[in-house]
């Protein structure tokens, strides 16, 4: 029981991170119907920007943890969002309106490019960061097994909740969110009514990249290491989360992220550590076969 609780806590933490990445996938898919394969690598870039920002701030003497974290959060989001914007501008915008496969191939190319770009610039080895927030609360002690809730885990889940609330307000209350939903429903009609479609799509990428940057930062702080290849697997798992929750649905992405995090952690904890990636892929395949609209998604009607 205690072991299960501990796994649940860990799974929830990991799931929050997957959820943050999954929002980027789900929003982009919702608005232009493409799988942004490079999104996982944008997350990786966010992690690298965070580790560099940590070190530069350390050199500058800003070591008070809350201030440093705030600075890194803002800087990391800004720089990563710029990467997201440029990727959209360079690799996807020229392909709008061409066949469906072209943007996907372009995205795969972009993913390979970003991985090797970071590998060349920062080296292929793991980059380690000493723990910034350590320690935790002992929730309970059952039969010699202490269930621990790390401060880092509280920070991650809290940050995710705050971001989710802010993001939901942004989509439902602001004019930007309204434009975005309009584009999602009917891009041509929105354009005719004066919505700047290109700008809205670009901002979608910017927001997705910003959330991926937060995920990269907390990933780095939670695991303490990052390498140039981390975006591949994390990206696929987050995409699975988006599909599981129902692609195009924001609460679905978060729910899917948490479910994937739980499946991943529980599988590794109870069955076998080797096959936990297989479990995620199997979930992806099963969801797509039996419920392609996901848990919270709307059915897609194909018009002739």
């Amino acid at each position: 029981m205690a072991y299960f609780l501990q796994q649940m806590i860990n799974g929830l933490t990991v799931g929050s991170m997957f959820g943050l990445i999954a929002i980027g996938y789900t929003m982009v898919y919702g608005i232009i119907g493409m799988v942004n394969f490079a999104h996982g690598d944008i997350f990786m870039v966010g992690g690298f920007i965070a580790i560099i920002a940590f070190m530069v701030l350390g050199l500058l003497g800003i070591t008070w943890v809350p201030l440093a974290l705030l600075c890194i959060l803002i800087l990391g989001m800004a720089f990563t969002a710029l990467h997201g914007w440029v990727v959209e501008r360079v690799a996807y915008r020229p392909l709008r309106g061409s066949n469906r496969l072209a943007p996907l191939i372009s995205a795969i190319g972009m993913s390979i490019f970003l991985q090797n770009y970071v590998q060349l610039l920062q080296g292929a080895r793991n980059k380690a960061l000493p723990p910034i927030i350590s320690g935790g609360i002992e929730v309970m002690d059952m039969g010699g097994f202490a269930v621990k809730l790390g401060y880092m885990q509280i920070v991650i889940v809290g940050l995710t909740i705050v971001l989710m609330i802010g993001f939901t307000l942004l989509i439902s209350r602001t004019s930007l969110g309204r434009q975005q939903r309009a584009c999602e429903q009917d891009m041509k009609m929105a354009w005719l009514l004066g919505v700047d479609v290109d700008r809205t799509i670009a901002l979608t990428f910017v927001m997705g990249a910003g959330l991926a940057a937060v995920a990269g930062l907390v990933w780095l702080m939670y695991y303490g290491v990052i390498d140039f290849f981390v975006g591949y697997l994390a990206g696929i798992k987050a995409f699975t989360a988006a599909v599981l929750g129902g692609i195009g649905s924001l609460p679905g992405a978060m729910l899917g992220g948490i479910l994937i995090g739980l499946i991943d952690t529980l599988w590794a904890g109870y069955f076998s550590n080797e096959y936990h990636d297989v479990a995620t892929f199997a979930v992806l395949v099963l969801v797509l076969i039996f419920r392609p609209t996901g848990l919270l998604g709307k059915p897609e009607i194909e018009k002739v």
Binding site: L75, A102, G109, N116
Partner: protein, 503 residues
Amino acid sequence: MAEATVNTSAAPAAATGARAHEPSFVYLVKDALATGAIALALAFPLVGFRTVDRGSTTIIETRFGQMFLGVAVIALGRFAFSLIDAGYARAILAGSGVLSVAWLLLVAVDPGGAAIFPLGWMSWMLVVSVALRAAYVSWGDRSEARGDAVSPGDRVAATVQRLAVFFGPVLLLFAIAMPLLPMADQRWVDLGILVLTYVMLGWGLNVVVGLAGLLDLGYVAFYAVGAYSYAIIAKTFGLNFWEALPMAGGLAAMFGVLLGFPVLRLRGDYLAIVTLGFGEIVRVVLLNWNELSNGPKGIGEIPRPSFFGMPFTPAPPQGVTSFHQWFSAHLWEIGFSPIQRAVYLYYIILLLALLTNIFTLRIRKLPIGRAWEALREDEIACRALGINPTNTKLTAFAIGAMFGGFAGSFFATRQGFISPESFNFIESAIILAIVVLGGMGSQIGVVIASIVLIGGPEWFRDLESYRMLAFGGLMVLIMIWRPQGLLAFREPTILLKPKAGPP
């Protein structure tokens, strides 16, 4: 990047078309500066700082000099590109052409002399790409002035396709004669084998992606199944290459049906992601199922192919004639040389690749092949016409998987050792890139793309670390330039206003 071209899903993508008339010079400078500013912001965290491992700790170094040079290169490039678009293509072409030739001469005279150019190859690449772009645009302007209906890229594609009728046999003759040419040493034959392996994989995947229009990101799974099937069958039952090959191909095809059956109802990019997932599952299973695949250590001592039972060994066991002994006894005297096996392997893969090609060419004429292509164009119309989409897709998937399995068996017998490391996602991406960049559905395009993507990097061994970077960048650029692929061109059968068509 202040162009305000509005593209909705309905409007055609203005990739090269929209050219600003009457551009003001000030605007172009501002535009280049803005691009430079964006590049600076992009480069600042990742290029400006470098994390370095010192013992157990990580420290940080700066390299702002390189960063500013890189940013300057990008801003200049942007300026040159917008000048080209503004109608100065000829002048830019002349200037950049002279510069790139001068650079080459400088390097040829004194390899160290290239250092006077900042960032060496980077600035050279900028000059060359500016020259290429200028040439392309000025060519496009000329053909536009003549009133041609098709863009220069389409014209090249159409020309290559017409020439393929003559070019193909010439290429084939060269491929057959290559190992016998005097310059063919071990390195050439090995390179030929490598390129031909990818040609075969490309042709196999072309059935799935090019003909049936199913995007398969996990093709390497079938390659892996073929390789492991061959290794296990050959080692366990002691069968030789030609006996085990059909079994491995059959197993891979069965695997294709098994994987394909549940997922082929899915649409384009969902299918792509699920196949990617299957590719990863196969790799992870091979990595962990120690009893079957020997895990990460891989399988070694896989039997090498023999020439009608005659092995390629210097000293065969009692009662067995090796190839060079037989050859010496019946034709003329030769000694043992390892290149004999390489040449034999080369002909095996050439044969297998040609088999794939002929099979594909023939099956395109059969009802099933026509159904594949029809399905690629419009699935709903096909369903209305009574084609069973699932079965049709399944055959394409299975046949593609079978050729992947053949190629995998060949890989196993050539290497003599296989491990899950050889079958990762990047391998799938490379095979897919060969098919897509060559132009989906184009057989000759696959050959050209393999020579460029696989053979090319072999010449640039020094730039090994930049290889994959350039590979990814090239995928993006080619997609933007020609979303249909380099050599995909179909003449419109009906024109609303008949114009002077391509020559």
